[in-house]
Point group: C2
Chain length 168, copies 2
């Protein structure tokens, strides 16, 4: 397989994977393209490679910047903006985890808590419901804690500690 074909295959695979995880296909493709690129790319280059409109590039690049995984890069002698994606994959994982935690996990904990505390009733049914909210909250908190630790950890450290911990 030629290098360029492999790069394109990676871009497309990543795009279709993203849809499974509730992430816009084009956004994932733009990120993948910047990741495999050896130099910063302009909006025009992204448009041409992915065959998408200027508006689409603009929106998705902006979203990626908002997620903290793409940044603007100045190129001397050029007026246009260029973009790059960080090449440290463990950092990438941590950043995405951090954002999803903030955007999607923490709000859920809040709702579960409100639901648990919002019901005054003490019937058997109500107690069962409160227990359920509590269990959901407890599991979510456990997962959240693990993710928090992962965000602060070094990849190798995390894996080796985790492995040790499990073997005990």
């Amino acid at each position: 397989m030629k290098l360029e074909d492999a790069k394109l295959k990676y871009i497309h695979t990543w795009g279709s994977l993203a849809t499974n995880w509730g992430i816009n296909k084009t956004m994932a493709q733009v990120h993948a393209l910047l990741l495999v690129s050896t130099k910063p790319l302009s909006a025009d280059e992204i448009m041409d490679t992915l065959k998408i409109s200027r508006g689409n590039v603009n929106m998705n690049v902006r979203a990626l910047i908002d997620w903290g995984i793409v940044s603007k890069e100045l190129v001397v002698g050029e007026r246009k903006e260029f973009f790059i994606a960080g090449k440290d994959i463990w950092e990438l994982f941590k950043q995405v985890t951090k954002e999803r935690k903030k955007r999607e996990i923490e709000p859920v904990l809040k709702v579960l808590d409100d639901l648990k505390n919002g019901v005054e009733e003490n019937s058997e049914d109500a107690e069962e419901f409160k227990k359920l909210m509590n269990d959901l909250s407890s599991v979510t908190t456990t997962v959240n804690g693990i993710l928090d630790k992962a965000i602060k950890a070094d990849e190798h450290w995390l894996l080796s500690n985790f492995t040790k911990m499990i073997k005990k």
Copy 2:
């Protein structure tokens, strides 16, 4: 808040959360409904509560069974099928994790491996690409390993061990 309102709020919140994670809203709502229900429910009851069609109930209940988080329950003297969701939330988390791992993580590892090995070239660019595929693969494998451990673990055991590990 009345108990019934809290249950409905939970069902709706769960539905909208699901869309963030690439899960069909109705599927999440059906699961949430079965989870808060104190008795097995028939297709008709699900239709009425969620105001959705018979076909939609059928498709989503079947998908939930396929995910291993809902099951059929026979009710004596009734000809219809009834459905229940397991109430053990840690089990639910483990089952969902196991399925997503199988459906979404493992295929990615395969693709990354193919891409890494499929490029014969040895230019600087090609080596950089292979390193990238390798890094993606390494992080994914680490995460996969942690999830594997979580799937086999008991919640309290995991949480307490994790807490200890964090404090070190």
